[in-house]
Structures are given as structure tokens and as C-alpha cells.
């Protein structure tokens, strides 16, 4: 259906590559409740893809389908040209999909540095024994991982809190640490579930800048769910709009903004 080689140029002149993930006719049911019904869209290499919609539209469910946590009742997920079957969590991480959560899911008692190091767990090769004994390649390996983590710390400007336990941090910084942990896994696709929720204007601006910089610097394909329309329109290259589990719009922000169905879903329509 889609040509794998084609791509497009974004408004700010970035080259977007071929299809990285394709979702075909996804339907997700929980018993009698249909959370997602017959949705298809694709995610391309290097783009920032937003999923928006009113409360209960099925956005987070969609993100869970993308991550492989939910198995769609119907439909297929194609990733890097292969059809994806059911997977265990470590297999998901191994595939190169990392995420942040709507409600922060960090280890409160651990330092920022240790939290981010956990993001690299799947990339560590030395065995349990070698790590426990601090013997063989384990120490050298940890140095290499620490270097990567320090680069991310530098990138997200969280050096001052490197050794601070996460539990003591304010909300906005916790969000940033979560992003750092996701980045530490060097993901092919980065999933952000409401990265800006509950933030003040300044924190939002910082977060926007970090998301753009991550995309710019590492070329990370990013899928994000967000409520703040201003943020979505500024950040993303293409937007999927959901309402009651259906897809009601898909395209560049300007196009979606003028789509009548989208306007109706957000502003409500007069019933006569």
C-alpha cells in the first residue's frame, strides 16, 4: 500500500524517511467496550507524529498498541517491514521502542543517574555473575554506558540533579528524567504519553525544545500524545486525530486544524 522508499519534506525543511511502522485496520476491544475501531495510519522515519483527541478517545490505548503492550483484537502492526506478533516486554524494549508515562513511573528512592542507567539495562551484555563480581567486561561496560548516560544528562541539562533522589524532584524535572531514561535506551521510536501534562508555561517550553532537539540531534522518531493544542501544532509534523475510538483526521497540523470533523469534535456541534 505504502511505498517504503518515499518520504516528504517538513515545513521546516527536514527530510522525513520511509515508513517505520504501519498500523493496519486496528481494532481493540475490552470485553464489550470498543476502545479503538478500525484505525490505520503510519509512522515515518524521523518524524514527530502526534495523536490527539478529547478525553477517552483511545489515545493511550493506541500508544499501548504501538508499544506492543496491547495486542489488537483485529488488525496488523508492521514494524520495519515485518508483521509483528505478540511479544514479551523485554522483546519490546529490544526492538527499540521506549516510552514515558502519563503518570511518572520512576524509581523514587534511586538517584537520577541510576534511574537513567536503568534505561540501558537491555543494552548491557555482561552476565549476572560478571556484574555481581565486578569482574571481566562488566566494569568497562559500565563505563561505556555511563558515558552515554552522561551525554544525555548534558543534553537535557540535568547535571545539577545528577545525584539527587528522584523522589525529591519537582514534577517538571521528573518528567525530564523520564525522557532521559527513555532516551538512554537509544530507541528507534520514542513514545511520549502527555509529556507536557501538568506543567507550567516555562516547563512546557523547555520540554518542547528538548523534544525538538532530540529529534534534531539523534533523528529519533517520536510519537506523542498531547492535550495542549498549541504544543501539538508547533511540534508535530503530522497529526492523527481520534474521537470515540475512530480516526477523524490525519495530516499536517494546518490541514487538521481546518478539518470540519476535528473542529466539531473539539468545539462540539449544535444539534438541531
Amino acid at each position: 500500500m505504502n511505498d517504503m522508499s518515499d518520504g516528504y519534506i517538513t515545513a521546516d525543511g527536514r527530510q522525513i524517511g520511509g515508513v517505520l511502522m504501519e498500523l493496519k485496520n486496528i481494532t481493540l476491544k475490552f470485553g464489550g467496550v470498543t476502545a479503538i475501531s478500525d484505525i490505520s495510519f503510519d509512522i515515518r522515519q524521523g518524524e514527530i507524529r502526534a495523536i490527539i483527541g478529547p478525553n477517552g478517545a483511545g489515545k493511550s490505548s493506541m500508544l499501548n498498541v504501538i508499544s506492543g503492550f496491547y495486542i489488537p483484537t483485529e488488525g496488523e502492526v508492521w514494524f520495519k517491514g515485518y508483521k509483528r506478533g505478540p511479544m514479551r516486554p523485554y522483546e519490546i524494549a529490544g526492538l527499540g521502542i521506549a516510552r514515558t508515562f502519563q503518570n511518572i513511573a520512576l524509581f523514587d528512592g534511586m538517584s537520577v543517574l541510576d534511574n537513567i542507567m536503568t534505561g540501558r539495562l537491555t543494552l548491557m551484555k555482561s552476565g549476572l555473575l560478571s556484574q555481581a563480581m565486578w569482574w571481566g567486561g562488566a566494569s568497562k561496560e559500565e563505563d561505556a554506558h555511563r558515558e552515554k548516560v552522561e551525554k544525555i544528562i548534558d543534553f537535557l541539562e540535568i547535571q545539577p540533579i545528577r545525584k539527587t533522589p528522584v523522589g525529591r524532584l519537582p514534577y517538571g524535572l521528573k518528567k525530564r528524567v523520564e525522557l532521559a531514561r527513555a532516551l538512554a535506551a537509544e530507541p528507534k521510536i520514542l513514545l511520549l504519553d502527555e509529556p507536557m501534562a501538568g506543567m507550567n508555561v516555562e516547563e512546557k517550553e523547555d520540554m518542547c525544545r528538548f523534544i525538538l532537539d532530540v529529534n534534531d540531534e539523534f533523528g529519533t522518531t517520536t510519537v506523542l500524545i498531547e492535550h495542549d493544542m498549541g504544543v501539538v501544532m508547533d511540534l508535530s509534523d503530522r497529526v492523527v486525530v481520534m474521537d470515540y475510538g475512530r480516526k477523524i483526521g490525519d495530516g499536517p497540523p494546518d490541514e487538521v486544524r481546518n478539518n470540519q470533523d476535528v473542529i466539531d469534535a473539539y468545539l462540539g456541534v449544535a444539534h438541531d
Binding site: P160, D213, D216
Partner: protein, 655 residues
């Protein structure tokens, strides 16, 4: 790349001193910077190699003799190198304050006609790009941090790193030209141009020659016996003359190590890790640290608190005397040694002051309690008095003659005299060459014999020969009834209370004095927490009746102490209010070095001053504020005005 060895007598420029240091101390560390969580270091030889490569990169971009190269960024080795590389090319480095907003930057860039700009990061590049169409002189922009810079138009822009590689690659082409240009530098060539913070009017470009910087560095290093083994932490703005003297002048003269923190907010951690031996900080840094210590001790357990109080009392009694080498009884010495084991040692370690041999504070008056606190711990904290035009040093305190209320004796090589109106004048080898493109200001500041007016009023204390500064000469005024009005004197007394961050006193030409107070959010916030006072914002806390009560007690105490001074007893504060916002440099209320701009504050808050004098008990006001990104907003507030108790004056026969 060894140049002809520069002998002691011929080291007439910073690049020549660099070559000398490579010869003498080649393998010792010259610079360190914490990056990626680790201290990276460069020896003098490595630093020299980097700087020369950068200078050759500059040549490849077409840097000419006499060009101005602006440097805007935080303290990083690369930025210090850019300054020296500029000097090597015969150009003039102009470091700018990195927190300046675009318009301020535009003025300075335009005034010096900068052709090249080195920016620390994207934020600074954005500001330069914003003002670029007003300033046509800018030929090329370089940046240190590459992040976020990919999408910029790179026809006239490069990463500094790439310029260095280009210089390295063009080594054979530029080497000869570079050596030639370095050899041309002499004692009279310009070393650096620094813009004064401009408490009044537009900033002025102070031109300092190699003679100014090197002679000053030589004299001041000898005064405090600074050697190659010193460690300094470079964290104060690079645009400030002090940083240039400490981190370039003295560092190159003595050959010691300059350490750059990871970023501005890790300064305290980095300070602890480096443990500098030579340290400079404005009083507010010492105040901030003391406030933090006290706040943490409030939360400590009973036993710890008791131990702390007990040994601090002893330290206050005998600490300064031990530091000055004066006789102290054996029992007290023993107690002090124990205290050092239990309290002072660990505390100094936490503060990062374990290794300090010489510490300086200047810029503002420091509270006697704060000053004594550090000295009683055995930290050799001293005061100096200086300004940009003097290459910092005018007076400083010799070891063993340290007091909180004087600024010391004239520095070596400096002559000081007091004019009839009390204004302090000086003449020294460090005296600046001129204000750039401003002969009128130069002439009005520096007379043909080389005497410079400081603008400060002061006097030499009889007996000790130490200088005491009262206030800015132009701020010292008369009240309506002719009594002396010295606002700074009273403000400093107020600011010595940890709860008061800033104070602005009014009263020139009036019959009584009034004041604006800024609370210290850290200290008052903590106090509120301990006293179960809930607040949602700075504004709400500032207006809280309990906070007013506390501030009022401070004002009353200050009034009582002011009343004791027969000369200044008219300066007691009759009424005051607590401002609803912090005075901020972004709003123009303070200079970048955090000195209050009295006239601007008076103009901006004219309605509040009026209310202070017409007897109202509260006033509604709206204030425009500028956010960090340059956008504007407004704060609305109703402020209470409180009356303070005025102590009876001791009218002595002063006249």
C-alpha cells in the same frame, strides 16, 4: 610549536606569558572543566596548542589587527582561549554578560563594532541573530555548544570547534603570520575591553592595556604570595573585570589552575570537589551559603544543634584571633582544635572552603556577622576595594589586619587620595587607558596626571590607615533640614539581616527617610514553613502581616543602631513597604552585577514613594515585568505600608 622563550622581563602580553608558562610549567594543569560528570583537564602545553590552533582558525576567517571579538558565554576554557586567541591575532577580546537581553547586547556590539562574535550556545546566538540587522559590522558568528544549531544559516556561522580544526589544518599557512602578530604585541597594546555595568547611563567600554593587566597581576600575586599551586574556580561573569584579573591576569602570571564549573547551578558541588585555595565571591554568595547552613542547622537534631551552637560560640570568641596569630589561652586553643575536628572542619568541607588560603569579597559591603562567621572558622576571608577602571585593585586588606568595616590599605603600586568633598581618587599602573570612543567621559574621569575619580565617598581611618567607604559620592545627599543622607549606609545595615535581600532607602531633600524592602525568598520561605505560614506566591508571602511584623522588628533595630551615629542619625527609617516583586536586572531595576539603580527604581515606583510620604496605609499598584525571554507582563498588587519605631537621635556637636 615552541616559540622563542619569553624571559621574565619581556613577557609583555598574555600570549607571551602563555609561552613562558609552557616553558616553565608545560606539564602542569592550566585549565579544568567538568563535563559529562568528569573533570577534564588541559596542561599549559595542551592549552597553548589549542589556543594557537584557535588563533589560526581566526586568521583563516579573516580576523584583522584591531578587530573586536565579542565573547558571550559562561565560564568555559574554550571562551578563555578565545580571548587569548583574539589577542594573538592582534584583535581585542570583548567579553559580554551572557544574561544581557538582546537590546543591551546590541548597544555594546554596535559600540565596539564587533566583527566576530563567539557565543556559548543557541540562546546567545539567537540574541545575536536578532540584533544582526542593526549591527552591520558582524562578519562571522561562532558557537561553542552545537546543540540545536543544525538548522541555522551557516554561511556566516561556524562551530568554534570547527574553526579550531580549520586552524589546525591550515597550520603551515598561518603559523608564520601568527608568530609575527604575537611578536608585535607590547605593553601598550590593548589586552581586553570590558564594559562597565552602567549604574548610570549607557555602559562604557573600558580599554585595559597589557601593562594594566600584567602589572596589576604581578603586584597582587606578590601581595598574597600566589603561586603555581593555587586552584581557582572561575564562576563569576567573564565580562566582569575581576574574573579577567583572577582567571586570566593572575592565572597567567602565577601559572595556576583555572577550574570551570559544569554549569551555573552546579557551582556549589563543583566548589566542593575542587576545593579552591584562592577564592573570590561577592558578599551575596557568602550570605547565601551562611543562610543555607543556618537553615539546615534549624532542621538538625537537638544534639547536633547543641554541638554546633557551642563550638560556633567558641569560634566567634577566639577564631579570628587564632587566624590573625594573636595570643589565645591554651584551653581555648584546645577547644578550638576539638571544634575543628567536630564542626569547623566538616563544615568547611561541605562549603568547599577546606583549602582556602586567600579569600576575597568585594563589590558590596559585607555584614559583620557574616564576615566574622567565615573568619571564625579559620577561613582567611578579606576585603578589597576596586573597580574596572583600576584593573580591580585599589585597596585590599593585608593578612592579619582584616576587619569587616574597612576595605584595607592601598594595594602595592596604587596611590590613593581623598578630595575635599570626600570622594576617593587613585592612580596606579592598572589605571585604564581610556573609555573606548568616548574622550569626554575619559577626560571627566581621569585627569591629565592620571588620577581617577572613583565616585565613592570615603575616608582614611586614623591609626590603622585603612580606607572606609561610606557611599556613592553622588548618592550622599542632604535631607530637607540639611542633615547628611547616606542611603547605602542604612541599606547595608538592613541587608545584613538574612530575611532582607535588598533595600532601597529614600530621603534626599525630604524631612524623613523611607524604604522599600525585598524579602529573601529562601530565608523567609523557610521561616514561614517553620511557623506554619501558608503562602502561594512570592507576592503573597511578601504581603503577609507576620512577615511585615518581622521586617518591622529588623527596621526598628537598624533605626536604633543608626541613631547612635551622630553624623547619620537623620537616616532612620520612618515608614517602609515590602515590594511585591524582586528587583531584577531584566526589568532594569538593577545592574547585571546586582547593584540597585536608584533612579530607575524611584521613577518606576514613584506612586509607591508618594504613598510612603502621604500617610496612606496601603496602595494599589501595577508593575510591568520582563520575563527571561524578553516578553512583558504585569503584576498587580495592593501593598501595605508600615510605620517603624524611630529611636531618639543623639544630637552631638558634630559640626
Amino acid at each position: 610549536m615552541a616559540d622563542a622563550v619569553a624571559a621574565e622581563g619581556s613577557a609583555h602580553s598574555i600570549p607571551a606569558l602563555l609561552a613562558r608558562n609552557v616553558q616553565r610549567y608545560g606539564g602542569y594543569p592550566a585549565y579544568r572543566e567538568k563535563e559529562f560528570g568528569i573533570w577534564q583537564s588541559w596542561t599549559w602545553a595542551q592549552a597553548s596548542e589549542e589556543i594557537r590552533a584557535m588563533a589560526m582558525g581566526f586568521l583563516s576567517l579573516g580576523v584583522e589587527r584591531g578587530d573586536h571579538i565579542a565573547i558571550i558565554g559562561r565560564n568555559r576554557p574554550a571562551h578563555y582561549w578565545a580571548m587569548v586567541a583574539a589577542q594573538m591575532c592582534g584583535a581585542v577580546p570583548v567579553p559580554l554578560y551572557q544574561d544581557a537581553v538582546a537590546e543591551e547586547m546590541a548597544y555594546v556590539l554596535g559600540h565596539c563594532g564587533a566583527r566576530f562574535v563567539v557565543c556559548g550556545d543557541q540562546e546567545q546566538v539567537d540574541k545575536v541573530v536578532e540584533v544582526e540587522d542593526q549591527i552591520h559590522s558582524i562578519k562571522h558568528v561562532m558557537y561553542t555548544d552545537k546543540r540545536g544549531m543544525r538548522k541555522y544559516d551557516h554561511t556566516r556561522m561556524n562551530a568554534l570547534e570547527d574553526v579550531v580544526s580549520e586552524g589546525r589544518a591550515g597550520h603551515y599557512r598561518y603559523e608564520e603570520e601568527l608568530n609575527h602578530r604575537i611578536a608585535e604585541l607590547n605593553y601598550d597594546s590593548t589586552c581586553v575591553m570590558l564594559y562597565t555595568s552602567g549604574t548610570t547611563g549607557k555602559p562604557k567600554g573600558v580599554v585595559l592595556s597589557n601593562r594594566n593587566i600584567i602589572e596589576t597581576a604581578k603586584n597582587s600575586c606578590a601581595f598574597d604570595k600566589l603561586t603555581r599551586n593555587e586552584e581557582v574556580l572561575a564562576y563569576l561573569p567573564m565580562a566582569w573585570v575581576g574574573d579577567f584579573i583572577f582567571s586570566v591576569g593572575q592565572a597567567y602570571w602565577a601559572g595556576f589552575t583555572v577550574n570551570c564549573p559544569e554549569n551555573a547551578s552546579t557551582m556549589m558541588t563543583d566548589l566542593r570537589e575542587i576545593g579552591p585555595t584562592y577564592f573570590f565571591a561577592p558578599p551575596r554568595v557568602f550570605e547565601g551559603q551562611l543562610t543555607n547552613v543556618m537553615i539546615r542547622m534549624e532542621d538538625a537534631g537537638k544534639f547536633k544543634k547543641w554541638l554546633f551552637d557551642r563550638y560556633m560560640a567558641l569560634a566567634r570568641k577566639v577564631g579570628p584571633a587564632i587566624l590573625d596569630g594573636k595570643p589565645v589561652s591554651g584551653a581555648d586553643r584546645l577547644g578550638y582544635a576539638l571544634g575543628n575536628l567536630f564542626i569547623y572542619g566538616p563544615l568547611k568541607n561541605t562549603l568547599g572552603f577546606t583549602n582556602i588560603r586567600v579569600g576575597y569579597t568585594a563589590g558590596e559591603a559585607i555584614g559583620p556577622e557574616i564576615f566574622d562567621f567565615y573568619r571564625s572558622l579559620g577561613i582567611n576571608l578579606k576585603q578589597l576595594y576596586g573597580q574596572t577602571e583600576a584593573s580591580v585593585f585599589i585597596t585590599q586588606q593585608p593578612d592579619g589586619e582584616v576587619r569587616s568595616d574597612t576595605v584595607g590599605v592601598p594595594s602595592p603600586g596604587v596611590e590613593v587620595k581623598i578630595a575635599d568633598n570626600g570622594e576617593v581618587f587613585y592612580r596606579s599602573p592598572g589605571t585604564f587607558v581610556e573609555y573606548y570612543n568616548n574622550p569626554e567621559s575619559t577626560a571627566s574621569t581621569k585627569d591629565p596626571e592620571g588620577w581617577v575619580a572613583t565616585g565613592d565617598a570615603g575616608f582614611f581611618e586614623e591609626g590603622s590607615g585603612h580606607l572606609r567607604i561610606i557611599d556613592r559620592a553622588k548618592d550622599v545627599g542632604k535631607m530637607a533640614d540639611g542633615r547628611l543622607f547616606a542611603p547605602k549606609y542604612v541599606e547595608n545595615k538592613l541587608k545584613f539581616y538574612p530575611n532582607i535581600l535588598e533595600a532601597v532607602v529614600f530621603g534626599a531633600g525630604k524631612d524623613r527617610c523611607t524604604a522599600f524592602i525585598n524579602i529573601d525568598l529562601n530565608a523567609v520561605g523557610n521561616w514561614a514553613e517553620r511557623n506554619n505560614i501558608a503562602y502561594a506566591s512570592y507576592q503573597e508571602l511578601a504581603g503577609h502581616p507576620k512577615v511585615y511584623e518581622m521586617i518591622k522588628s529588623h527596621v526598628n533595630e537598624v533605626n536604633a543602631s543608626v541613631a547612635l551615629d551622630p553624623m547619620l542619625s537623620g537616616c532612620q527609617i520612618h515608614r517602609f513597604l515590602i515590594l511585591h516583586k524582586e528587583l531584577d536586572a531584566d526589568d532594569g531595576e538593577m545592574t547585571r552585577t546586582r547593584k540597585v539603580r536608584r533612579n530607575i527604581v524611584a521613577e518606576k515606583f514613584a506612586d509607591l514613594i508618594e504613598a510612603l510620604y502621604d500617610g496612606r496605609t496601603s496602595i494599589y499598584t501595577e508593575t510591568e515585568v520582563t520575563y527571561e525571554d524578553g516578553r512583558k507582563g504585569a503584576i498587580k498588587a495592593t501593598l501595605n505600608i508600615a510605620d517603624a519605631e524611630v529611636a531618639p537621635e543623639q544630637r552631638m556637636a558634630a559640626e
